[in-house]
């Protein structure tokens, strides 16, 4: 798992690579939350272009960040999820409430 963060003009971009499962999620969560509290962005972008696999632990991670972002008045965008990830988001009924973008 590699996590890259970049911040510009109030946007925190987090690129999550590799597999997101119960084993990897806690570290990713901690890194994102630390960065969120440090930079206080207006928008958090979770870039999933390099996320090869995600299961319901990843769903928990995304929903948790959505909650956290709302508390901080921050908008959450999910960028370039794979079809498998979208199916999981759809099953959870959050595909419509989440801001999903493709570049």
């Amino acid at each position: 798992m590699k996590l890259l963060t970049a911040e510009k003009e109030g946007t925190l971009m987090v690129r999550i690579t590799g597999d997101v499962d119960h084993h990897s999620a806690p570290n990713i969560r901690e890194e994102i939350d630390q960065e969120l509290l440090k930079t206080r962005p207006r928008e958090l972008i979770l870039d999933l272009s390099g996320t090869d696999f995600m299961d319901s632990s990843g769903l928990g991670l995304i929903l948790g960040r959505l909650r956290k972002a709302r508390e901080l008045n921050c908008r959450l965008t999910v960028l370039n999820p794979t079809e498998q990830i979208v199916r999981i988001l759809r099953l959870a009924g959050v595909e419509k409430t989440l801001n999903i973008e493709y570049l």
């Binding site: 499962d21 696999f53 319901s56 632990s57 079809e83």
Partner: protein
């Protein structure tokens, strides 16, 4: 009559890193079966959910080297894949409740409670037999 074409049975300790190992094993098992990336992703997701549940719920509080998860894969001549994940852990109190979307007994861990509903949606059938000391999850999927 359908015949069994290939099978594998693996036993590994209930360690988080073995979630990825179980997915890779499954991908390896399917390697020669000409499955699309989408089907492969479905099957890996099903295995990942079941194995994760065995580790984090079945063996809650005692994950580690002395607790084992059993993963069994069977492939039949009609292209049916059977996946069985067994743990010898605490068991599921109420399977019907557990199947409900968003139901989880682990609030702190940011579990989504969507593992079992995902396993059900991604497979053709999901069967759970559970009692204290043994949980057996069987999933069937016909590969196109």
């Amino acid at each position: 009559m359908k015949e069994m074409v290939n099978c594998a049975r693996v036993r590994f300790p209930a360690l988080g890193e073995n979630e990825g190992f179980a997915r890779l094993l499954t991908a390896g098992f399917l390697m020669h079966l000409q499955v699309t990336p989408a089907i492969l992703a479905d099957v890996k997701t099903m295995v990942s959910e079941a194995v994760t549940n065995a580790i984090v719920h079945g063996y809650r509080g005692r994950e580690g080297k002395k607790c084992f998860v059993f993963l069994e894969l069977k492939f039949y001549s009609d292209r049916t894949l059977m996946i069985t994940v067994t743990d010898l852990g605490r068991g599921i109190d109420n399977v019907e409740d557990a199947m409900e979307p968003f139901f989880t007994t682990d609030r702190e861990g940011e579990r989504s409670g969507m593992g079992l509903p995902i396993m059900q949606a991604f497979s053709d059938s999901l069967r759970i037999r559970s009692r204290p000391g043994r949980t057996v999850v069987t999933m069937r999927k016909k590969l196109p």
